[in-house]
Symmetry: C2
């Protein structure tokens, strides 16, 4: 199945644009889970089982697994194995390297780990992105305007009268012959989401930055969606994972995910019906 069809299908089935970011930090886990090697995997499994009917995607931040050292790869694989197949998986490593190296990264993420999608940094240009968009079963979410403070340092520089991130988006539109490029735009930039959606009317947009980072959920839904009220993938990580540090952590994560999903659905109804 094409990536874009898989995404649309699960967004409709679960009536959800919510993506839960499994940025699992061993230092923040409920104490009763202990500190054994498998604690991250046990935590992830319970979070996934508690939320998988409420989300369209899970995003796994690769840095958090790399930080686990030798066991990280195993935990990644086993976590992915728990995620139901109809839900989109995003390998969030923000990879960007020269062609022959980018091929390695793409092969690790798409073949070895079987992610559906990956986040990609555009700074190295076409040959760094191309291995991630060879098949329309996979999607490369290209960093456009990221959610962090540092996004102002270079992404907003003016190029021919327009911000650099816009120039990058325009260029990715030309690369998008297989309809399998998406964008990353932080919810912390609500004023920019509308013009970005206008430039790229049918790309999926991954929107991190709600919750802990303080992004604007209303704009994320209103301007992040395509004309049918779909294709925005709105990510929350810490606010869901660490909703409770007690024995009820999975239930609390479910309640928070449900709350977010419902808020998003309400806004979708308001703006797209």
């Amino acid at each position: 199945m094409k990536f874009i069809d898989k995404l649309l299908k699960v967004q409709r089935k679960n009536r959800s644009l919510l993506c839960v970011g499994l940025d699992t930090d061993p230092a923040k886990l409920p104490r009763h889970l202990g500190a054994s090697k498998n604690v991250v995997l046990r935590f992830n499994r319970q979070i996934i089982e508690a939320t998988s009917d409420l989300v369209c995607a899970y995003k796994l931040n690769l840095a958090f697994y790399e930080a686990l050292g030798e066991q990280g790869w195993h935990v990644l694989q086993e976590t992915l194995a728990v995620i139901p197949r109809h839900i989109v998986t995003i390998g969030d490593g923000k990879r960007g390297d020269i062609g022959n190296t980018a091929e390695r990264y793409a092969s690790a993420l798409y073949e070895e780990l079987a992610f559906d999608a990956a986040t990609v940094n555009p700074y190295l240009g076409y040959d760094s992105v191309e291995p991630f968009i060879r098949s329309d079963r996979h999607c490369a979410f290209v960093l456009a305007l990221t959610s962090n403070e540092g996004s102002k340092d270079f992404q907003r520089l003016t190029v021919h009268g327009r911000p650099l991130y816009e120039k990058i988006i325009q260029t990715t539109l030309k690369w998008n012959t297989k309809q399998n490029i998406g964008l990353v735009v932080g919810a912390t930039h609500p004023a920019e989401l509308q013009p970005i959606r206008a430039i790229a009317p049918s790309m999926p947009i991954l929107i991190p930055g709600i919750g802990k980072q303080g992004g604007d959920l209303q704009s994320a839904v209103r301007y992040g969606c395509d004309k049918n009220g779909l294709l925005a993938v709105i990510n929350a990580s810490r606010s869901v994972l660490y909703a409770s540090s007690g024995k009820d952590f999975a239930g609390a994560a479910r309640a928070e995910a449900q709350h977010l999903r419902n808020q998003i659905e309400q806004l979708r109804t308001q703006f797209f019906s």
Copy 2:
């Protein structure tokens, strides 16, 4: 010891600006080594033992280790353990993520794996680089003008009349309060090395792209070095690693490394004495 002092010391001791890139690809290894789990490690060990008196640094391309799957981390650790301590090690992952995630990457590379330096993508701005430059024992090599074809897509865009990569270099100069930022500039851009060295007279410059990629060694030495004929770190990967596919691979790698080191030394003598 400060990173910059460690680099200068080993460049003087080994009279070498050569960095060997351990981008080890299991598919390209000499057949007689077999295909066991440890083949990459055995190959790396022999390459390091055959070349460590001829180099100032080893650069490990993380994609090649990630592509090994579950054993990749172990192979990284064991390879690093073989490298003599006075030689600089560079974790080449071109990482770039928001602050709290960049901290994870930096901790994995600097604390868990004990690399001296890392390559970093600047597109996400200051908070994505800062965790890599907290200590002057470590160095972040920031991607400026990369060796690949795609470097023209965005890196050369005009910002206030100057190329984007120059704007990025100017900004990293302001961040460089601990003298521990370096640049990555491909040897495939010989005409740009001189102006870049003029802007950043005392930063280490990591210069990939000689050998297979066809970069210009003479310009790499002449314009990549600081005024003392040091601080250029000139990387060769495939031309050294795969100098022979026979049983003599380590000897052939040594011969190729020696040839490159001597060529570089000759050029240094020509331009800096």
